[in-house]
């Protein structure tokens, strides 16, 4: 941990909506929603609209019912990207250590910038001033000794705020917060923790790490325990080594058929694996994203023991994750879970993502590993596709399914979804 709080998390306030307000000043002070995408969801909303309960990723129908007076504006992603570039330029005037998390937020390490620009809180204030003066955009900044505390701090001082957490106050700051404020604690983990009687981050810190490991799994349990004690040794990495590779698909109509979901996972896994191999990378963490018809969105991830670029491994992992959600018919046999096709299990979007990336290289074999396995097979298939075209060879279960796999996911900010690489 640094001797001082020198990590900044800068998060633009209602970014898309704020960019729109710059060219429609007449809408200032009124509820306004940026919405779009193939099926119409809220991409961003002014704080006036949020006061009515409007949130990002909400279906437009619901948003309109909540806030009928809102002005709805279609998205202009080119304008948002241009604004993002200008904002990131301001960050880089203070430090080269800028790690963008998406178009509208970034981590900055300003430890080396003190001599030039003063203390980290002064730098944070200067960034906020310049953003407002030069770009007419407000942001919220968390200043802390580590990335995850800085992120929590910025979230909690929104909008247009500045929160500084000195190193000796990290635990005092964290421990009263609800467990859900921790990175990595989603609704499911929160429910598990609540069952253990753990409601605050302090409760997690006071729990033996073995208990957490048993409840949440080895890696997640140990990780949360460390976070609860304020320990996060990740560095702000401007090199973008934290790039993820993912693919997702919004179905033209909602899907409840387990076979269709499994096939889509196979296709998405194949695309992710091919991208990994193409870029000479391997991944250790596989995550799936499921968005239901009612827009509830669930992501689940699993970290593998060995990094992989094999579609079969990615597929097996993502199927396991989705099956755990009861979506692949597995739960029927045991009598639990809702029947497939029920309203609340209809899937609108499915995504597979690989993260925790490393360089592919010579591969240390495992004891008991089959000498010739999927790795070799898929490399041969890659070569065949390179020579004879994409349809030359592929999994049998995807034969006759071509053409529907090329769609990109919709609704996300540029760079965050689809087939490309996005920073995480």
């Amino acid at each position: 941990m640094a001797a001082d709080s020198a990590i900044l998390h800068v998060d633009m306030d209602a970014f898309f909506a704020s960019v729109e307000l710059r060219r429609r000043p007449e809408l200032r002070g009124r509820p306004m929603i940026v919405a779009g995408g193939e099926r119409g969801v809220v991409l961003s909303a002014t704080y006036e609209a949020r006061a009515f309960g409007v949130r990002s990723a909400m279906p437009m129908g619901r948003a309109r019912r909540m806030c009928p007076a809102a002005v709805v504006v279609p998205p202009d992603h080119a304008a948002y990207r241009a604004a993002s570039v200008e904002i990131m330029k301001i960050f880089r005037d203070f430090t080269p250590l800028v790690a963008p998390l998406s178009v509208d937020e970034a981590f900055l390490d300003v430890a080396g910038a003190r001599a030039l620009f003063g203390s980290p809180p002064r730098i944070a204030a200067a960034i906020r001033r310049r953003g407002a003066a030069e770009q007419d955009l407000t942001c919220s900044v968390g200043v802390a000794p580590s990335m995850f505390v800085a992120k929590i701090a910025s979230t909690r001082c929104k909008p247009d705020g500045l929160a500084v957490v000195p190193p000796d106050q990290v635990l005092a700051y964290l421990h009263p917060l609800p467990t859900g404020a921790l990175w990595g604690v989603g609704p499911r983990a929160e429910a598990v923790l609540t069952r253990l009687g753990l409601r605050t981050i302090g409760d997690i810190a006071g729990t033996p790490v073995d208990t957490l490991r048993r409840a949440l799994g080895d890696a997640a349990g140990a990780h949360l325990h460390r976070l609860a004690w304020g320990i996060d040794e990740r560095q702000v990495d401007p090199g973008g080594t934290d790039v993820t590779i993912g693919a997702e698909r919004t179905f033209p109509t909602d899907v409840g058929d387990p076979a269709v979901l499994a096939r889509e996972l196979l296709r998405l896994s194949g695309r992710v694996a091919a991208q990994l191999r193409h870029r000479g990378r391997t991944a250790r963490t596989i995550s799936v994203k499921v968005r239901f018809a009612d827009f509830r969105t669930i992501t689940r991830s699993r970290t593998l023991r060995d990094s992989t670029d094999v579609s079969q491994t990615i597929y097996a992992t993502s199927v396991g994750l989705v099956a755990d959600l009861g979506l692949l018919g597995v739960h029927r046999a045991s009598g639990g879970g809702p029947p497939p096709g029920a309203e609340d299990t209809m899937v609108r979007l499915l995504g597979v993502r690989a993260s925790n990336l490393g360089e592919a290289g010579p591969r240390q074999l495992l004891l008991g590993e089959r000498p010739e396995g999927w790795t070799e097979l898929e490399r041969v298939a890659d070569r065949a596709r390179a020579r004879f075209g994409a349809a030359a060879v592929g999994p049998a279960s995807l034969i006759g399914q071509r053409g529907s796999g090329g769609q990109r996911g919709s609704g996300g900010p540029p760079g965050a979804g689809g087939n490309g690489a996005a920073r995480a």
Binding site: D210, D218, R226, W229, I231, Q364, L366, L367, G368, P371
Partner: protein
């Protein structure tokens, strides 16, 4: 509390106990960063003082020959105390608790250290019921051979353990990080009837026990499976106790990985081969493999890539098999060669077809210790190592 003690005696005990203080202080209650000094009145110059450390996984107790003038129990910042005692000149140290501080005087040197509240200190587990004894040197040798193969990645806790199979016939040790596997069996003297237990002992702790408890000729082994928090294993030698919580989980079924026979065998001078590997590995970047090509009575070790530095060395071996080539991680190979106790090491290849050698395990043993020693794994040290493959090699 007041006692006097020889500097060397106390330094040995605090230094040893401090090794078991929590390595990540932030993750454990603050009280555990302290060393507990427990002085009881008794016969003069007896072991009236016990130094304790506890990091929830491991508890240690070191008795110290001290003259206790006034009994008491204090908790002292652990690393600080160990550093202070080590820095003192070789003479008698007078130690006394005064209010909320500990006073140490040694000749003209004087230290005061703020005390911590011993009320916050958890109760140390008691030493488990003894089940047998093992020869200190033999145990240290076996642990030194097996522990390096244990995993270091905490994501699979059981792989960071040495699997200790305790039976009436012997102690069988195995460790694997799934890339290599080391096994060794040693005799022991059970003191209970028909002992049988499986214990996953953290490899770090076991290595520490083997390394440091060598003043006594035998180590007492104790086992407690009644603790609801988890089974514990205890080691005691010369009064020093290490009590370690065992790791839960399923250890890989390693016995099915051990080949019954090998198809081709090369015999090399252990030290000579290790020296060559170390030399050639100088040009191998980080995880880059070394290529070993075996032909009639020689092996060529090579490393480096086309653009950068390269190295090769030819080492004489006894080998009559077909030409075969295999890529190995040099540090894994060195762990194995370092563990071979014989002057000559044998390198066995499982596959008869030399083309398959690049994807099948290599078996390393000492040449003369191939026979069984009456324990479940035949006793002798065996080391299995999987090769590295590149995409171009096939």
């Amino acid at each position: 509390m007041r006692f006097s003690v020889e500097r060397d005696v106390l330094a040995d005990a605090t230094g040893w106990a401090a090794r078991n203080l929590p390595s990540r202080p932030g993750l454990t209650p603050n009280a555990l960063t302290g060393l507990l000094l427990d002085a009881t009145a008794g016969s003069a110059a007896a072991t009236g003082l016990v130094v304790c450390a506890y990091d929830t996984e491991v508890a240690v107790r070191a008795p110290v020959a001290a003259t206790v003038a006034e009994p008491g129990r204090v908790l002292v910042p652990g690393r600080l105390l160990a550093d202070i005692v080590r820095s003192l000149p070789a003479a008698v140290i007078q130690v006394a608790a005064q209010g909320d501080r500990l006073l140490l005087r040694c000749g003209s040197v004087r230290f005061t250290v703020p005390l911590m509240d011993p009320a916050d200190y958890p109760e140390l587990p008691s030493f488990p019921a003894p089940i047998g004894e093992v020869d200190t040197l033999g145990f240290a040798e076996a642990v030194g051979q097996v522990a390096p193969a244990a995993g270091r990645d905490e994501t699979v806790p059981v792989l960071t353990a040495v699997r200790l199979e305790i039976s009436g016939r012997g102690l069988s040790l195995a460790a694997t990080d799934r890339y290599r596997l080391a096994v060794r069996g040693i005799p022991w003297q059970p003191t209970v009837e028909d002992p049988w237990a499986l214990a996953h002992v953290p490899a770090k702790v076991l290595a520490d026990v083997a390394r440091t408890q060598t003043s006594a000729s035998r180590i007492v082994v104790g086992l407690d499976i009644s603790d609801p928090v988890g089974a514990r294993l205890g080691f005691a030698a010369a009064g020093r106790q290490t009590i370690v919580r065992l790791i839960d989980g399923t250890f890989p079924n390693y016995r099915k990985l051990l080949p019954e026979t090998v198809a081709h065998v090369a015999t090399a001078q252990t030290a000579e081969l290790a020296a060559a590997v170390r030399r050639v590995a100088v040009v191998a970047t980080r995880t880059a493999p070394l290529r070993f090509t075996f032909t009639q009575d020689q092996v060529v070790a090579e490393a480096g890539d086309g653009d950068g530095a390269q190295a090769s060395e030819t080492i004489p071996v006894e080998y009559t098999g077909p030409e075969l080539s295999v890529l190995l991680n040099p540090s894994y190979l060195l762990d194995g060669l370092g563990a071979v106790e014989d002057d000559e090491a044998t390198i066995g290849f499982v596959a008869a077809d030399p083309a398959q050698a690049s994807a099948r395990p290599v078996v390393l043993t000492g040449k003369d210790s191939g026979g069984g020693r009456g324990s479940p794994d035949g006793g002798a040290f065996r080391y299995l190592l999987m090769p590295i493959r590149t995409d171009t090699a096939s």
